[in-house]
Symmetry: C2
Subunit: 210 residues, 2 copies
């Protein structure tokens, strides 16, 4: 006996192909796999699928079209994703079904950010360095959640002068303020009449690297 438990290079190729196609859209059908590798028989693919199943590397439902799914090289390979709409400026009102203003979309798996798919989650590109004291930089993407009551010390997005800005929410002696985390912006703004658009729950930074 040889290669009983380890994966062969051919099987590796096929597994990679399936994973790739899944990420691009649909998992491939058996005949699509056959065509890609030049097989003239769908049975050949079935053999490989069976081998990959035996070795616990692939999962698929019996008789279901395009159901091949790679079992995690990692404990959990594909987790539920959230599609987070990306706004440049937060609109004043949150109309539930008006997502037209979204400028883009960020997809991150839920586990990574520790977010429950609230559907009230959105992203905001940071402008300025007013929150550098909290290590939030210009160009970062803040992940926020709408409809959560902020605690003191939370970073929140609020609408000030038609512009949404990120600030620290401070509760002091029963009064709430917004504080910038940069000595250049020493202002403490009363937050009584302000609309808090969301509480920050995560951050994504893209390093400029050309």
């Amino acid at each position: 006996m040889y290669g009983m438990n380890s994966i062969t290079s051919r099987q590796q190729e096929i597994l990679e192909f399936i994973k790739q196609r899944r990420n691009e859209g649909q998992p491939p059908s058996a005949r699509e796999i056959a065509e890609h590798f030049g097989f003239r028989s769908p049975g050949t693919v079935a053999d490989h699928i069976a081998a990959l199943r035996r070795k616990g590397l692939l999962k698929n439902s019996f008789g279901q079209a395009r159901s091949a799914e790679a079992v995690s090289p990692f404990p959990l390979q594909r987790r539920p994703l959230v599609d987070i709409p990306l706004y440049g400026v937060i609109p004043a009102g949150f109309a539930r079904d008006q997502v037209q203003e979204a400028q883009g979309c960020i997809s991150v798996d839920v586990e990574t950010l520790g977010i429950r798919p609230t559907a009230r989650t959105f992203a905001l590109e940071i402008r300025g360095d007013s929150m550098i004291g909290r290590h939030i930089l210009n160009g970062d993407f803040a992940i926020l959640e709408h409809g959560v009551t902020p605690c003191s010390g939370d970073v929140v997005a609020a609408l000030i002068d038609q512009e949404s800005t990120l600030k620290t929410y401070v509760l002091q002696k029963g009064k709430s303020y917004l504080r910038a985390e940069n000595p250049k912006y020493p202002k403490l703004i009363p937050a009584n009449e302000l609309v808090v658009q969301g509480v920050m729950v995560g951050l994504i930074r893209k390093m400029k690297h050309e």
Copy 2:
């Protein structure tokens, strides 16, 4: 005529269902949609699919199983994802097919991080505050790319004393050093003999928020 161009609530429901199922794994078949909504005819689903296509909200290939795909409410709805293995400590050697040591997996869409799917991308959970000067905190996840030659000023992961640490790579007078970005760690380590494991290209932060 009424409702010619706008989407009806029923169609909205079906579109949402398709999008949800896509995110969870496979797009649904027509009969699965029918079952979910209590339709007793696949033709009903076909009608809705046709309507959604007419309105440019759905895309699907003719005759292909499970190919329903929502056309972006955003410019691009589902983009290619990268599955980034998450290591606690980077192993000394990078064996191409040994991914067992991965402790988890982060899924982010490529566009967001501006990464080409190099398959040599990995993630690392930050320990310590040695890079606080670059606004990288304890508990952050660094996204790194292996096999890239670092430029001066890049943040890199290097293996020091069996531990991988994040440092700034500095090229000075033809010599290369590693520098911590924290006054508490004022050391400048010669990088000649060091193995640079990867260059940092992105960062993901999860705010502790219970």
